[in-house]
């Protein structure tokens, strides 16, 4: 299917940094367009690894981020009758844009030499994704069995959702939401697998690591995952820590809970975390949000646990809950805005706090995962996985059956845990997804029809002149004239 449309000039993304409202109004006007093309700055291009845009001030970066976030939300929630495309600025398209702006200002119609452009997008006809699925990956690290049955040991769960959602699925790499969470989970798993590999240092807690899918859609995957547990396992979970966006914070983190803060377990969690945080030099704040069972909206991942009476909390840099489909790793969530140091500090926080609980070191200032030790947090591991995640769009319905990325996560967890189990379920039908997420845009410089007609006229007259010239020079002028006059009728002679 080819979609050719007249490029909508001037107004757009160069100026969107100042007027997202303008865009909203423009879209609301419902003009009949062939399509809408957004040219994003190179800084959001995950295929471009270099420090593009480092010459810009951080102030404008922040402004740009906010404006684009607003724009993305407008696009997600508006019903648009025409397709919207996203592309990245480069010199060629900037030259074309400048050309078009010039001719738009002067109001000149397109001729051969002045900026007549035809934009053709060739993409297959979008079909709805048949039964989109979610894949949850869990890794089980068994604790030191005092007795006979491992399930008698209490369990601590560490969970992070790994999929994203955005206005452009092929650009939704979600470095912070929730690439940072996935990286933190993998690093914590690696550290504890080192500890648990030696029976002398194996704790008396089982550790359950969960990489869940379906995060943007009310944590649908987590729900299905929990419902697949058997009763004993669910009851053995002491508490669950969900990690959600810990990649770009400076001084404070939030722990969100739905059980009242007076709850013994919650108190315990807070004590562990805040004491470690204090030692590491930052704050951890508690935020309580009651859940409403009749409301289908699930704002945090721990709420899915709470609905099944499992104590859980979410560790996040966000202080307030998101709206549906907001901040789910879309257009603006690029690698450039994530600080791996923030992730490393978060890993230290989670690992030390868990270790305090598992090994009973509450109140003692012991650092198990100290820097420059065997168990130090590995910054290269963090950086490598963060880079991979920042280059992989991860919208759940578009993962194929044996998607290499999901298999890579599974393999990584297999390296760090004893047992890995992959659960594939259908995504609940809140939304319908349509494929065809990438396309190629061809821009042609074309000549108008008038040019062709003019050329035909010129050529026709040239050939006629040539013809006459040749006739005159080789046969004489009389012959040329005689071509246009019939010879005098011979009837006169015979009569």
């Amino acid at each position: 299917m080819k979609n050719a449309f007249q490029f909508l000039t001037t107004k757009f993304v160069k100026f969107v940094i100042f007027c997202a409202n303008f865009v909203a109004e423009y879209i609301a006007e419902s003009k009949p367009l062939g399509g809408l093309l957004f040219l994003l700055p190179q800084i959001f291009n995950f295929e471009n690894n270099g420090e593009a845009g480092s010459n810009r001030l951080d102030g404008t970066k922040e402004l740009l981020k906010n404006v684009l976030a607003e724009l993305e939300q407008i696009l997600i929630h508006t019903n648009l009758p025409y397709p919207v495309y996203f592309a990245f600025e480069d010199d060629n398209i900037n030259a074309v844009l400048a050309d078009i702006k010039k001719s738009d200002i002067t109001g000149q119609p397109a001729t051969a030499t002045t900026g007549g452009y035809k934009f053709v997008v060739s993409a297959p006809e979008p079909k709805s994704v048949v039964s989109p699925s979610i894949t949850n990956i869990q890794g089980w690290l068994a604790g030191l069995k005092g007795g006979d049955d491992a399930h008698q040991l209490p369990t601590i769960a560490i969970v992070a959702s790994y999929d994203t959602f955005g206005a452009a699925p092929a650009l939704s790499v979600g470095s912070d939401s929730n690439g940072s969470g996935v990286v933190a989970l993998l690093e914590v798993a690696r550290l504890f697998s080192l500890l648990y590999s030696n029976p002398k240092t194996r704790g008396q807690y089982n550790l359950l690591f969960g990489l869940t899918s379906g995060g943007p859609y009310n944590y649908n995957g987590t729900r299905k995952w929990l419902r697949s547990f058997d009763q004993r396992l669910r009851e053995s979970i002491d508490y669950a820590i969900c990690i959600d966006s810990i990649g770009s914070w400076e001084n404070e983190l939030w722990i969100h809970v739905s059980k009242p803060p007076e709850n013994a377990y919650i108190k315990q969690i807070m004590e562990d975390f805040s004491s470690v945080a204090e030692e590491l030099g930052f704050n951890v704040n508690l935020k309580h949000k009651k859940i409403n069972i009749s409301n289908p909206r699930v704002a945090w991942e721990h709420e899915q646990f709470s609905r099944l009476r499992v104590t859980a909390a979410t560790l996040s840099e966000l202080s307030a809950a998101r709206e549906l489909l907001e901040k789910t790793g879309g257009l603006i969530d690029s690698r450039h805005f994530v600080d791996e140091k923030a992730i490393i500090r978060s890993v230290k926080l989670v690992a030390e706090s868990l270790a305090r609980h598992i090994y009973g070191h509450q109140g003692k200032n012991i650092q198990i995962f100290a820097d420059n030790s065997n168990l130090a947090v590995n910054p290269y591991y963090v950086r490598a996985w963060l880079d991979v995640l920042s280059q992989t769009p991860r919208v759940a319905p578009f993962f194929s059956k044996d998607d290499p990325f999901v298999m890579a996560l599974k393999k990584e967890l297999e390296d760090h845990t004893d047992e890995v189990y992959v659960q594939r379920e259908a995504l609940d039908g809140m939304f319908t997804f349509y494929d065809s997420t990438r396309a190629k845009l061809n821009i042609y410089q074309v000549a108008s029809v008038t040019f062709d007609l003019l050329l035909l006229l010129v050529l026709g007259s040239y050939l006629i002149v040539l013809f006459s010239f040749l006739v005159i020079t080789t046969r004489g002028l009389d012959d040329l004239i005689s071509l246009f006059r019939r010879p005098p009728s011979r009837k006169v002679k015979t009569a």
């Binding site: 051969a112 035809k118 053709v120 061809n442 042609y444 410089q445 074309v446 000549a447 029809v449 062709d452 050329l455 035909l456 050529l459 040239y462 050939l463 040539l466 013809f467 006459s468 010239f469 040749l470 006739v471 080789t474 046969r475």
Partner: protein, 228 residues
């Protein structure tokens, strides 16, 4: 409207041949057979040239002007002249005057050249969406080529078919024939060695073709006088 553009360029490239045939007395004397024979000879010549080029020429990576390679190409270009000689002198034609013979041969030669070199790029390229001036320039080049081919055929017929030429004019005839025959090398030198752009090269070709046509016409009429 790009099939339209293809049509325009096609009539620019091939129209003059048809016009030439119908405008001059060639059509009255029904010299189509001669033209077709000349076209076939051109095809054979092109084949021989291709084989020689493939055998003797190195493929160079850069687009620069290599004098040795160009010299080789010019020598192979003389196979063209041999082919033209064959078409003029050796093929048996019906009784047509020398005047018309060279025109018919030149026409057939130029038509075959245009079809071989310009039809395929035109078909593939001019129907696309993107507009370039290239195909129009190529058409103008075809026109220049037509004039050059006819002049070369005229000079060729003077050299090989006319026995009684004024002695003074003979070196001029050979010189002009030499220049016209090496036109391809000259244009490729201009394009690669001096770095001229395509429009400039086409302009040069048109200009020289008219000049050479005029000179050969003068030579031809000069040689015609003694026999009268």
């Amino acid at each position: 409207m790009t099939v339209f553009h293809f049509f325009n360029c096609a009539i620019l490239t091939f129209g003059p041949h048809a016009v030439y045939y119908s405008a001059t007395p060639l059509s009255e004397y029904d010299t189509l057979g001669t033209s077709i024979k000349a076209a076939v000879v051109y095809l054979a010549t092109a084949l021989v040239k291709l084989i020689c080029l493939a055998t003797f020429l190195k493929v160079s990576e850069s687009d620069s002007f290599d004098p040795y390679q160009e010299l080789l190409k010019a020598l192979i270009g003389f196979i063209d002249v041999a082919g033209l000689y064959f078409a003029l002198a050796q093929l048996t034609h019906r009784n047509i005057s020398q005047n018309h013979k060279f025109q018919a041969v030149g026409l057939g030669w130029a038509f075959a050249d245009s079809v071989l070199h310009r039809l395929a790029p035109l078909w593939v390229g001019a129907r696309g969406l993107e507009f370039t001036w290239d195909y129009i320039l190529q058409g103008l080049e075809a026109n220049a080529n037509l004039v050059l081919s006819i002049s070369l055929a005229a000079l060729g017929s003077l050299m090989w078919l006319r026995k009684n030429k004024p002695k003074t004019l003979i070196p001029i005839i050979y010189l002009c024939a030499g220049i016209v025959a090496t036109m391809p090398s000259i244009t490729s030198y201009l394009r690669r060695g001096l770095g001229w752009h395509f429009p400039k090269v086409v302009g040069f070709e048109l200009f020289t073709s008219l000049v050479m046509a005029f000179i050969s016409w003068q030579l031809f009429s000069a040689c015609q006088r003694p026999s009268m």
